[in-house]
């Protein structure tokens, strides 16, 4: 019987053969990512009284969640992380200026096909866009892995998602994923490895695949996966990952899937996740006209270069509606540089956007807090109650194009009307 990607990746990481779904193994991850929560790992390590680490080169720390520090306490946590990285020789340390951990590690060639990557962030599923098995864990587990190099993993069942295209103008991978999450539900893929296949996925850029894999988390996935192809290898080349340093793992053609889901991109309209759950998804026209106070274009789901370019395309020649705040937070420093050099920053500024420093920004509580009764339209991946300020505020999720159109009109709007 053929093997899924996850079976192969966990066999590689555990050194065991012929794993079957449900089996629990000790796996040795290739990289342990911890974001601003690293301070908790460091404190835990201190209390354990351990100072010998398994392999310091597998530690990656990125100060992305509260960047820059918002008070003396968080400044102290950042300082603790810097001091630790310096003392222990953590070379993959990225400070508050770098951007969102996932994006930073990928664009710098630190995530490679076939690898097992764990992170203190649930959206670590994103690493599947380069054919790695990425999954989120708690900070105790990261600390334990620093020390022992291993952690227990259950071999997941796999789900195959086929996306057919092309997508209609004004719809994007974000719309594909929101539709899919709406269809299968927030727990539709719990503990599963979600593999994306199909004609349209093959045409997607790595950035678009990142949006797919990132949002797979919102249907409960353990990890996500897009088969690495020439597109992925070219991305890795540019990111500086040596081709000899990794092995592409592909599922066997006769791999077993628990289920197969299909999204027909051709018939898709822009989708919106309505408060307060990500699987509460409707076509944009059903909520068009809802007043928004704030629009946030940011997060690891949709603040990559092409996301900013899409927003700029919609915003060009338009201005943000009076009374609406448009916050744009580029996902990384490299994305900011590209956007500054090719006119995207200018276009956004002229439209009235507030461009912040790269990082998680408002998605993780650095700014963008709302007062009672306010509404944000966001390109992020969560719309849970109270995530951005008041428990009595609302978050709608959609693509950068829908976000930009809604900023221009001051109400949730179908971007297809502006792109026509």
């Amino acid at each position: 019987m053929g093997k899924s990607f996850a079976q192969k990746a966990l066999e590689r990481a555990s050194g065991e053969k012929d794993l079957v779904p449900g089996q629990i193994v000790d796996a040795f991850p290739d990289l342990y990512m911890s974001h601003t929560a690293s301070w908790r790992c460091i404190r835990t390590l201190e209390r354990m009284g351990v100072d010998e680490l398994y392999d310091v080169d597998r530690i990656a720390m990125v100060m992305d969640h509260i960047s820059p520090a918002d008070n003396a306490k968080t400044a102290g946590y950042h300082a603790l992380c810097r001091e630790f990285a310096d003392r222990m020789g953590v070379r993959k340390f990225f400070d508050v200026n770098a951007g969102i951990a996932h994006v930073v590690l990928m664009e710098r060639g630190l995530i490679k096909p076939g690898e097992l990557i764990i992170g203190t962030d649930s959206h670590s599923t994103i690493y599947g866009a380069l054919g790695a098995l990425g999954t989120g864990v708690g900070f105790s587990e990261i600390t334990a892995t620093w020390v022992t190099g291993k952690l227990w993993m259950k071999v997941p069942e796999s789900i195959k998602v086929e996306v057919d295209g092309p997508l209609a103008r004004g719809t994007y991978p974000k719309d594909v994923m929101l539709r899919l999450i709406g269809d299968v539900g927030a727990d539709g893929a719990t503990y599963c490895s979600v593999e994306f296949h199909g004609s349209y996925v093959e045409q997607m850029s790595v950035s678009e695949r990142m949006t797919l894999c990132n949002l797979a988390m919102e249907m409960g996935a353990k990890n996500a996966f897009v088969p690495p192809d020439d597109t992925a290898l070219a991305y890795l080349d540019e990111a500086g990952a040596d081709r000899g340093s990794y092995e592409v793992l592909l599922p066997d053609p006769d791999a077993q899937y628990r289920q197969v889901e299909r999204v027909d991109g051709r018939s898709l309209v822009p989708q919106v996740a309505v408060p307060h759950t990500v699987d509460n998804v409707v076509g944009v026209d059903e909520v068009a006209g809802t007043k928004v106070d704030q629009v946030f274009i940011g997060s690891c789901a949709n603040a990559k270069y092409d996301d900013l370019a899409i927003a700029a395309e919609v915003l060009a020649g338009n201005t943000v509606a009076p009374g609406v705040r448009l916050i744009v937070t580029p996902a990384s420093s490299m994305i900011m540089a590209k956007a500054a050099s090719d006119g995207i920053v200018s276009t956004l500024l002229q439209a009235g956007a507030l461009i912040t420093n790269p990082g998680c920004g408002a998605c993780a509580g650095s700014g963008g807090a709302m007062a009672d009764g306010e509404v944000t339209f966001s390109t992020a991946n969560r719309n849970f109650q109270g995530r951005m300020g008041s428990y009595q505020s609302s978050i709608y999720l959609g693509s950068p194009a829908t976000a930009a159109a809604s900023a221009i009109r001051g109400v949730i709007s179908n971007p297809q009307e502006l792109l026509a």
């Binding site: 404190r43 835990t44 306490k73 708690g138 105790s140 109270g386 428990y391």
Partner: protein, 182 residues
């Protein structure tokens, strides 16, 4: 050490293999932003976190939570972020077990790793009403509700050791000590 071994009273009961008491019942898809809002993640102290557990749902519910021993929930409990404080705050609030139809996977991992009993038992969830007495016999693999007993798949031995040690870090430290002695 006090921050690592979460809530000693819950552990004492664990040793006997049975935990439980009054249940508080939730629906499906309870997410981590509701369990412990992101703004409080600057703490890892169970007691401090417990003050803010379920804050978005209001003070009345929070009071009931603190007076309860078992969280009973529908599908996909703990969906959302990987924040370990989602289970730590429940321990701080005096919760000794969570019985749900299903868990999000990161929450499930975090529960084991912080020493919180988390069992999937849909039949028991069907039978529970708010405020009922729920006992989880963790060794026997049963949940008892009002005289009725429901089975659940016992933890794999590897995970059970972690849980019984009070979580992953205490488990590692026990191992290290044993190693030193040996």
């Amino acid at each position: 050490m006090s921050e690592l071994v979460n809530e000693p009273s819950a552990r004492r009961e664990l040793a006997k293999g049975v935990v439980g008491g009054t249940a508080i019942v939730f629906g499906d898809d309870v997410n981590t932003d509701v369990i412990i809002p992101g703004r409080y993640l600057v703490s890892i102290d169970p007691a401090e976190l417990a003050e803010h557990a379920f804050e978005p749902l209001g003070p009345e519910l929070q009071q009931r939570l603190r007076a309860s021993d078992v969280v009973v929930a529908g599908r996909n409990f703990g969906c959302g972020s990987a924040r370990e404080q989602a289970s730590t705050c429940l321990i701080g609030a005096g919760i000794s077990a969570v019985v749900a139809r299903s868990f999000s996977r990161v929450f499930f991992r975090n529960a084991i790793n912080t020493g919180l009993v988390a069992v999937e038992c849909p039949d028991a969830v069907d039978a529970v009403e708010d405020g009922a007495e729920v006992l989880v016999d963790y060794g026997a693999g049963t949940v008892t509700v009002g005289g009725q007993s429901f089975g659940f798949a016992p933890y794999p031995p590897g995970l059970r050791v972690i849980l019984e040690a009070g979580g992953l870090i205490p488990h590692l430290m026990q191992q290290a000590k044993a190693g030193q002695r040996g």
